[in-house]
């Protein structure tokens, strides 16, 4: 007959947090630990970290100039000198893949930087004010959502002219609706809570309320969504590059590399394999990391 004199309790800290700031850091620490405890998410994070490092140190890592042509050395299979082989202009594919990481990061970064604030703004404004503002904004969002994102991006780039900048713009234009919708949904749940009412009674302007009360509540889901979206951005960018509508040659964008290599693919497989693999790995990494973030930040999800 075992006896238990006290019910088991979770480990309790010896003293509670002393301030709001301390509490917040405590939560961040706990979140980070949980995230790292998830092996898949950690792998994703590591890969992303590697990507950033590779992009920063590209000139050091890449053995050759990515745009230097050397027709005498064209279409050579992978070897000790050219780890990934050479393409139809004799350029070292390994170096091009390395430099391509810069382009990928550039695209992801720019798109996320532009899309998140705009989506947040539109979503929170729509959710907060309701009424016809909401109806109009949501209608616009619906319209953008009524296209598969690649097709819409295609249309924009085609019209604006193929270039890296236009591709980024087009992708941004197709990405903001999901963030806006999410922000709006979050705003709607928060809008009627007591602390918002209290702020209103204190005379806070709508802008202040939105910025300081509502946006922080949306942040975690928006961050998760943005991270998951990054994987999609990479794929869309690669797709545009593949169709020749993104970065123009000789820029070593991974999607464009698979496109130009396609002509020679059947006999020279190395032209398309490695750039595509790079896309897969990076996209997977963002997916895994985003999933892990979601488990940590968004307890609602399964």
């Amino acid at each position: 007959m075992t006896s238990l004199t006290q019910p088991e309790t979770a480990t309790v800290t010896a003293r509670g947090p002393k301030s709001g700031r301390e509490a917040m850091w405590g939560e961040v620490r706990a979140g980070v630990l949980r995230l790292l405890g998830n092996p898949l998410a950690t792998i994703g994070l590591v890969i992303i970290g590697l990507l950033i490092l590779i992009a920063i140190f590209a000139p050091v890592i890449a053995p050759f100039d990515p745009v230097a042509q050397s027709l005498s050395r064209a279409l050579q299979p992978p070897s000790d000198v050219h780890w990934f082989g050479t393409d139809e202009y004799g350029r070292d594919i390994f170096s091009r893949v390395i430099y391509g990481s810069r382009i990928t990061l550039y695209i992801v970064f720019l798109v996320t930087i532009t899309v998140s604030p705009i989506g947040l703004l539109i979503g929170t404004v729509a959710g907060y004010f309701g009424g016809w503002i909401d109806a109009v904004l949501m209608r616009i969002t619906d319209i953008f959502l009524s296209f598969p994102s690649l097709i819409l991006a295609l249309a924009f780039v085609a019209v604006l002219g193929p270039s890296l900048q236009n591709a980024i713009l087009a992708i941004a234009l197709t990405n903001w609706p999901s963030i806006a919708r999410l922000a709006r949904a979050e705003t709607l749940t928060v809008r009627n809570s007591d602390y918002v009412a209290a702020a209103k009674l204190q005379g806070a302007s709508a802008a202040r309320i939105i910025l300081r009360q509502i946006v922080p509540m949306c942040m975690s889901s928006v961050i998760v969504r943005s991270t998951l979206n990054m994987a999609g951005v990479i794929l869309t960018a690669a797709g545009l590059g593949f169709l020749g509508l993104g970065a123009q040659p000789p820029t070593p964008e991974w999607g464009a590399m698979t496109s130009t290599g396609r002509r020679y693919m059947l006999d020279y497989w190395w032209l398309v394999t490695t750039p595509g693999l790079a896309i897969v790995i990076v996209s997977l990494a963002f997916n895994l990391f985003g999933d892990g973030l979601r488990d940590v930040l968004d307890s609602r999800s399964e």
Partner: protein, 292 residues
């Protein structure tokens, strides 16, 4: 506190006997022990398991049918229904036990009935799982069962969907579905808690009649002590996963354990004026196991 020298044994041969049942959830350093060293037996009688939320009473019910999630660990010295060793039984054996020998009524028909099947279908299905029968025959039997639970127009109700019938009717459908395969033991997990007070007694009466008429054993799980006083033969009180007292329903007023006395004292009763309703004072000593 040892239970009073009250009959822990049922009249006649027991249908179900449980000895030292322990159920814990979750792995890792601190599994939650939901049921600790619970022992009791049930014969052809009505036994109530009474306790508050979290006392482990529902878990006991579900572990008898081995319907706990995969994270649960069941350990016991004995878990036996008639000649079937439930503890050692594999899933195949349990498939033959569930419904056919032991059945269970759940709490809220709003959630416990399949929303996209007609209620008649759900009753008929319960029959066809254990007996080979044509759709026609199963339907006849289901209609007869609907009649037995005093539903006035069985043919009409047969075709209804769960969201189209009232709570009381839904619970009667539940009873019908659980009794149609002819089990010997019925577990009722808070069968009236989700019902209107006015309907409760009616449904209980139906349950009472059917259980008596068929000579079933009944395990009635509830938090409502008042309900079981008149309805059940014996009462088992659970607290924090343990059995703290076991006695005849008639002897309730002579309960010994302070928890039971506390429960009884805090029941509001018509005709008894009191300034304040006493609040249960919990003694951590109750969480400790004693002999017995």
């Amino acid at each position: 506190m040892s239970s009073t020298p009250a009959p822990n044994s049922p009249p006649g041969a027991p249908l179900l006997s449980i000895r030292k049942l322990n159920v814990s959830f979750g792995r890792g350093p601190h599994p939650v022990r939901a049921v600790r060293d619970v022992s009791f037996a049930v014969g052809q009688e009505k036994v109530a398991i009474v306790g508050e939320s979290g006392s482990g009473k529902s878990t006991v019910g579900r572990s008898i049918l081995k319907l706990l999630p995969r994270t649960a660990r069941i350990e016991a010295e004995e878990m036996r229904f008639r000649d079937i060793d439930i503890l050692a039984a594999d899933e195949n054996t349990m498939l033959g036990v569930r419904g056919r020998r032991i059945s269970m009524i759940l709490q809220d028909p709003k959630y416990s009935l399949n929303p996209v099947m007609t209620v008649g279908e759900q009753i008929a299905e319960a029959y066809r799982v254990h007996h080979k029968a044509s759709r026609q025959e199963a339907r006849e039997r289901a209609l007869a069962m609907l009649d037995a639970v005093r539903i006035r127009n069985p043919e009409y109700v047969f075709e209804q969907y769960p969201h189209q019938i009232s709570g009381g009717m839904g619970q009667r459908v539940m009873i019908a579905a659980m009794l149609i395969p002819d089990p010997q033991l019925l577990i009722a997990d808070e069968p009236t808690s989700a019902l209107d007070v006015t309907i409760r007694l009616k449904v209980l009466a139906i349950l009472d009649d059917l259980v008596s008429a068929r000579g079933l054993g009944l395990i009635f799980i509830t938090h409502d002590l008042n309900l079981v006083r008149s309805f059940c033969d014996r009462v088992i009180i659970m607290y924090a996963g343990r059995v703290v007292e076991e006695l005849r329903a008639a002897d309730l007023d002579r309960a010994q354990h302070p928890y039971t006395r506390g429960l009884l004292a805090s029941l509001p009763m018509l005709g008894q004026r009191r300034e304040r309703l006493p609040v249960l004072q919990r003694d951590p000593a109750w969480l400790a196991a004693d002999g017995g």
